[in-house]
């Protein structure tokens, strides 16, 4: 047998035209319809091969997610292939998704027959010859780049002991980076689609909803609305056609968990969608995915085609009479389309503009029909809930927030990547235990949670547990899971400006508070670090202070009167900044200084005569000819010409340029 879709013998008859209801069970327990030792052997040996338990040749697995590819995984793969050819070694090379530890990509795993799977980090093309020789020829461990073992090997550190993985609890990401995301057979062998099978054949729609309600699963897109309730509302609606939508329009800058999930385990998302669609009685489902994620879209396309080929999606699934077709819609790059009513507009082919609710999508959504929209991560949580039961799922997390949450850890932190922690884990644990703290011995300043609608949290609230409510209390929000760590060289005024610029550009323009309000708010913030003539124009100063006086009120009005979540949360970066980093705003306003060295216009660049060798690189780099000096002599910066771009500082090899 090559794959599960192949019939084991004449007695097996599963095809898409004539589906067998036990097909999914058969893959892991088969065959069920007849007793034949040979068939049993074949199916179980295929399963063991797919789970990498039985193989004659070594298997090499390379992380081929976007992060891996961006770190050069494709070149490493080529180098390994060439090396194997040279040494005449037979081995299987498999591409996997992202295991989450993006900071040390490319990650290469070696699995020798009868031994545990061992992961190696930061394998470069240069490493390959020695790496292959050590692991495959000498059967030794390549100690220099060892990350850990997937099993309990003697003498090798287990992956679970690596600090980055130690405090994580993987439910959603269980398969990511472990199985081959392109292979439906690997997913089936690892117990995939069993939850869908169970829900479809053995559970009533109400039972599934009860299970999801009891599990306490809340929307992982950031809002935190109970998922079971949403489904219940849609199920109660009487309609000839219902729709299900998966929101994969991950527009938050600094968030990449949906992309990683879709690239590393697309079948799980499809399975979650299929369960949800069956539960509400939808026969058509859409995945609305960002066009910026070509790899994710490609994988989804292949996965859907494969599922249809196997009869897991399509008409009359598993002979139950239930049909489901999943279509992909590519988003066209508008942040506001993450808002459900705007997303519906976008699928319908209109400008993505939110509509006032009610009517909620569960009453009248896509094409006016009842629609359920959930985030990628919400769907990925559904199969485990059905499999392990609501009780067990609800035992993870806190009283009001159940389960785990995936965060995209990035910014100034040692271990960037994807982390999944139980709800209730403190921010401190995520930043310092999992993230490994701040690189280059710098000080922690803030952590930004929840993207443009979230807030920046300082060190004194770092013991806040990660929950929907507690994060709201401290002025951030769960959001979709972006988690950006910032060090002392990040200026909070600049961050507020950055987010407001983003929000203002992405505001759809339908409602006045958001369209005009964010624009004015941005103007106020932009005035703070602006440099005015040396004559100290009094009018400018007046404008600046006047803006600051009205800022709080303006933020409150925008928050209260905007139409959709984008506008309602737009002032959050500013409000949390004013709440926790007031001193920084004041320093910018009164002392006209930026101690983080970010707000260029408030800086003065000087050249240290002692350190400057007169090499002239900065002269060449300076776009406004503000640097003068003889070759070989110390140079000078003319302050009146300098535009504070920082190019000289970036390019100086002798650290001769001071900023103060």
């Amino acid at each position: 047998m090559k794959d599960f879709n192949q019939l084991c013998c004449e007695k097996c008859w599963h095809t898409t035209d004539k589906p067998c209801e036990h097909f999914i069970q058969c893959c892991t327990e088969g065959p069920l319809c007849h007793h034949d030792e040979k068939c049993k052997q074949e199916i179980s040996s295929l399963r063991k091969r797919l789970k990498y338990e039985e193989h004659d040749h070594p298997i090499i697995m390379i992380g081929m997610g976007t992060c891996g590819l961006a770190s050069g995984a494709a070149k490493v793969k080529e180098a390994i292939e060439a090396e194997l050819k040279k040494l005449n070694i037979e081995a299987t090379i498999e591409g996997t998704g992202c295991i989450g530890y993006c900071a040390v990509e490319p990650i290469v795993d070696i699995k020798l027959p009868g031994k545990d799977r061992v992961s190696y980090q930061e394998i470069t093309v240069k490493d390959v010859p020695r790496f292959i020789k050590t692991t495959l020829v000498d059967n030794q461990v390549y100690k220099e780049k060892l990350l850990g073992s997937h099993g309990k090997s003697n003498g090798i550190i287990s992956l679970k002991q690596v600090p980055f993985f130690e405090y994580q609890h993987k439910v959603v990401l269980a398969n990511c980076g472990v199985i081959n995301p392109d292979s439906i057979d690997a997913y089936l062998a690892n117990g995939g689609f069993k939850a869908f099978d169970k829900a479809l054949r053995l559970m009533k729609q109400e039972e599934v909803i009860k299970e999801v309600l009891d599990s306490g699963l809340r929307g992982r897109g950031g809002g935190g609305f109970p998922t079971g309730k949403k489904w219940e509302l849609a199920l109660k609606q009487k309609s000839d056609q219902k729709y299900l939508v998966c929101n994969a329009d991950e527009g938050d800058p600094g968030a990449f968990m949906d992309r990683s999930l879709l690239e590393s385990d697309p079948y799980r998302v499809l399975e979650g969608m299929a369960i949800a669609a069956y539960t509400i009685g939808a026969s058509v489902a859409y995945i609305y995915c960002r066009a910026e994620y070509p790899l994710a879209i490609e994988r989804l396309k292949n996965s859907i085609a494969k599922c249809e080929e196997y009869g897991i999606l399509g008409d009359n699934i598993l002979n139950t009479g239930y049909s489901l077709h999943i279509k992909i819609k590519k988003g066209a790059g508008a942040f506001v389309c993450g808002e459900e009513t705007a997303l519906i507009g976008s699928i319908e082919g209109k400008r993505g503009m939110p509509k006032p609710r009610p009517p909620y999508p569960s009453n009248a959504g896509l094409f006016g029909k009842p629609t359920v929209i959930n985030n990628v991560e919400t769907y990925a949580n559904v199969p485990p809930i059905i499999m392990m039961g609501a009780q067990k799922f609800a035992s993870i997390g806190t009283a009001k927030s159940k389960g785990t949450k995936v965060f995209a850890l990035s910014g100034n932190v040692k271990n960037t990547g994807l982390v999944e922690v139980p709800m209730g884990t403190t921010l401190r644990d995520i930043v310092f235990k999992i993230g490994g703290g701040i690189p280059d011995k710098k000080e922690f300043k803030a952590v930004q949670i929840g993207g443009p609608s979230g807030g920046c949290l300082p060190y004194n609230v770092i013991d806040t547990p990660v929950e929907y409510e507690s994060l709201k209390e401290v002025g951030a929000m769960m959001g979709s899971g972006g988690f950006v760590v910032m060090d002392e060289e990040t200026c909070m005024v600049d961050v507020a400006k950055y987010f407001l610029t983003f929000i203002q550009e992405e505001s759809c323009g339908k409602c006045v508070p958001c369209r005009e309000g964010t624009k004015r708010m941005l103007e106020i913030i932009e005035r703070i670090p602006k440099r005015y003539g040396t004559d100290g124009n009094k009018l400018d100063q007046l404008q600046r202070f006047k803006g600051m006086i009205h800022l709080q009120r303006l933020a409150d009005v925008i928050k209260d009167t905007s139409l959709c979540g984008l506008g309602q949360s737009a002032p959050n970066p500013v409000l949390s900044g004013l709440r926790y980093f007031r001193h920084e705003y004041e320093e910018h306003l009164y002392d006209r200084k930026c101690s983080s060295g970010v707000c260029k216009e408030l800086l003065t660049f000087t050249i240290d005569n002692e350190l400057c060798t007169g090499c002239g690189i900065c002269i060449r780099k300076c776009s406004v000819e503000a640097i003068v000096g003889e070759k070989g002599q110390a140079h000078y910066i003319l302050d009146e010409k300098c535009i504070k771009c920082g190019m000289c500082y970036e390019t100086c090899r002798f650290k001769a340029i001071n900023i103060n």
Partner: protein, 159 residues
């Protein structure tokens, strides 16, 4: 050229407007006016509405592109790691501002909100190649790679 695309879509179906625009842009690299007119006739949506949709979404362009597209990621993580300077350096190096194309039609500089490769910030994407963890110093070297490729191509073409 773009009429072939219409074969795989139902006429008069408004929901296929955005996929149609995406497909047409895949062919030309931008949305020419006559293509917009054809799409408008095909889906039976007034041209003004089609234009409205095309200008609403960041993905669509109404002007032609250069040979190499440089996308500078301006996501939060990249911003924290100084992507503003990277953008500035690229702008000075190429002599254009974001959103423009160089005179020789070799480079188009674009800003994107987040590529989703935050773990290797700051990131720029040239065509389909990711360049991660870059500094301002790396930029001339990276650009050179794309310039020389073109020079050899033109040299071969002139032969």
């Amino acid at each position: 050229m773009h009429n072939k695309i219409f074969e795989s879509y139902q006429p008069n179906d408004r929901s296929s407007l955005i996929p149609l625009l995406q497909d047409v842009q895949n062919i030309y690299g931008y949305l020419p006016e006559n293509a917009l007119r054809d799409i408008s006739d095909f889906v039976k949506v007034p041209l003004s509405r089609v234009y409205g949709v095309a200008t609403f979404y960041n993905q669509f362009r109404l002007t032609p592109l250069g040979k190499n597209i440089i996308r500078v990621c301006r996501g939060t993580a990249c911003h924290v790691k100084n992507s503003a300077n990277i953008l500035f350096a690229l702008e000075t190096e190429l002599g254009i501002t974001a959103g423009q194309t160089t005179r020789d039609k070799n480079f188009t500089l674009e800003v994107v909100n987040c590529i989703g490769a935050c773990s290797i910030a700051p990131v720029i994407l040239i065509n389909d190649d990711y360049h991660g963890r870059i500094t301002v110093k790396d930029i001339p070297k990276i650009l050179k790679k794309y310039q020389t490729v073109n020079k050899t191509e033109t040299a071969e073409a002139s032969k």
